[in-house]
Symmetry: C2
Subunit: 391 residues, 2 copies
Amino acid sequence: MPPTRIAILGSTGSIGQSTLDIIRRFPERFRVVALAAGCNDARLSEQVREFHPALASLAHPQAFERLQAAFPDGATALQAGEGGAAAVAAYPDADLVVSAFVGAAGLVPTLAALQAGKTVALANKETLVMAGALMTRTAAAGGARLIPIDSEHSAIFQCLAGQRRADVRRLYLTASGGPFRTADRATLANVSVEQALAHPVWRMGPKVTIDSATLMNKGFEAIEARWLFDISPEQIKILIHPQCRVHSMVEFVDGAILAQVGAPDMRGPIAYALAYPERLDLGFLALPERDFSGWEFASPDPSLFPCADLAFEALADGPGSPAALNAANEVAVAAFLNGRLPFLGIAEVNRGVLRRARAEGLGDADSLGAVLAIDRAARQWAREIAGGFTG
Amino acid sequence: MPPTRIAILGSTGSIGQSTLDIIRRFPERFRVVALAAGCNDARLSEQVREFHPALASLAHPQAFERLQAAFPDGATALQAGEGGAAAVAAYPDADLVVSAFVGAAGLVPTLAALQAGKTVALANKETLVMAGALMTRTAAAGGARLIPIDSEHSAIFQCLAGQRRADVRRLYLTASGGPFRTADRATLANVSVEQALAHPVWRMGPKVTIDSATLMNKGFEAIEARWLFDISPEQIKILIHPQCRVHSMVEFVDGAILAQVGAPDMRGPIAYALAYPERLDLGFLALPERDFSGWEFASPDPSLFPCADLAFEALADGPGSPAALNAANEVAVAAFLNGRLPFLGIAEVNRGVLRRARAEGLGDADSLGAVLAIDRAARQWAREIAGGFTG
């Protein structure tokens, strides 16, 4: 079997590096043909030296200049800016594109990959949160396929293998519950940034860690699941599972539930997405027996963690509302991290933006341009609402 | 789609009645064409009146005479004895045969169904415990298919759907642990029949309930799994899971585990076997949220529950040894239920028979006749060993 030729969007980030770790272990199965990163020319240079891609791209102009200086011989073609990322995304020789840029920067190249009919292993959350309808429609039109890398969606994807979609009764998205799972309202009102950044299980960037503490992250994952699995929001249920060993579950119409279980290590879902429908022998990954213990599950308290419900409200409101919610939340979390918004204010900003979107309307979300216009408007509203907080 | 035409071996027992309960709910999907029972002519008569099979069979001569008297018109053909059961098993118009006789009586008709190339939904445990190699070889030769009805094996079968067998690292067979899960040796030495019959979760017949208390049942299930899934015994691990909600699990080479979860209701696995690869909408079956709670898993203590290990020893010993172990255990459990053997004596009898089989040899197990000869010899040994206990 010829190796799968892989392009990576965001190769210097956490998911990108883990992807290369898997590829490094299976040199016969995979070949890196194109890499795109944001501004980390030092790490991208190392990756180019090790994997010899045909194309490498850096978004940041000065970092790109340093990259050019490091590789004067032209064995790897170099490109800069958004165009470079899109070229990596649609690189003709690539069979599979790993979409692992962080944030809205992932939208344009991911759309380009789907338009080019690529199989996209998706780690970028904004792709489906901001533009789920557009992305899935584009994938269907171009014969492209989306395979999730997020641990929860990979779990559901694995549970659905060999099953008929019509037989699905419900998806259970599991959530760690974050650092404030057992907190009361008074505690939440006085949460510090340091406390919010101390996630009990997963080590992630600050934005995602805060989203995990508010459960906004789980709400966004519900939006992604709605699009990835073409399922109605009423069929998605969030369950707090502090042990983080059951990564999600699918309930079928006969009452049977399939759960995917494993160590919390992103290399598992990454490897599954790269090799699907096969599995790679990851001898280093196994759930130790001590982790088969005391698995608890509970519904979140919507009065303390309203952000998850806001995601379902956004889905019900209309195609542009999830993008507005995503924008509001980015502004709100940044304000919290900068000490300008209390923890509970994050949900208030998000709620306020959804309310204003309902009052003023958002227009359609049929193109990336329209989605990005919604994003801009919602950010402005969010800044106004956040500015009204006196702390 | 035309209805699936079903023959049931053991229609008046617990699994048989639950199968008819499912069929009753989906009259467009299933049609009963043949029924076989042992001696309960009253219940079989009711079933004939309700489902109008083309053929009905009773093993017991006098019960058969009463059945004949009840249906003089010939709309349902009636047959008696072992020949009747075999005729039901190989009934030409049946697409699927439910094998739900209890005990060794299930062997001959199940083999007949496999020889006739039927899809066999298997509930009879002795089929694979006593004659796993013969049955699976026969199935392969005749293009017949075995679908498990046992909750643990159905769970594994469901977890394997859409997965490659080569990607399986391990099967986790879960066990309730029975009523003596937390008992010490002194307690086990003095267990009464009443205590042993008080299973904490599943309501089953006395023989299976005792087997559950000794973990012999789980050992037999390991033997069945070895044949059903063509997997080496070293890849099968037993896990005590007192909550009985996770019915079994499959670990893959990438470290991912799929678990099948659900209410402990045999209609789930029965419906899955009948409709495979589809699922039936069983609105009445759902795991209530309170059951998503405190799932524990632990390895059994082999010093207190040696019967599970004896099953693996029997698999290692050779093709006839599991049949000898099964026979020994039947004799030992009957002696325990009759008050002639202490609880811990069951394992001693089983161990003694395996030891004697090693010393004296068992001959081959290539035919049902050979397997039944092993069964007879082992019973004799077991009676001798059990008789040596003074209580």
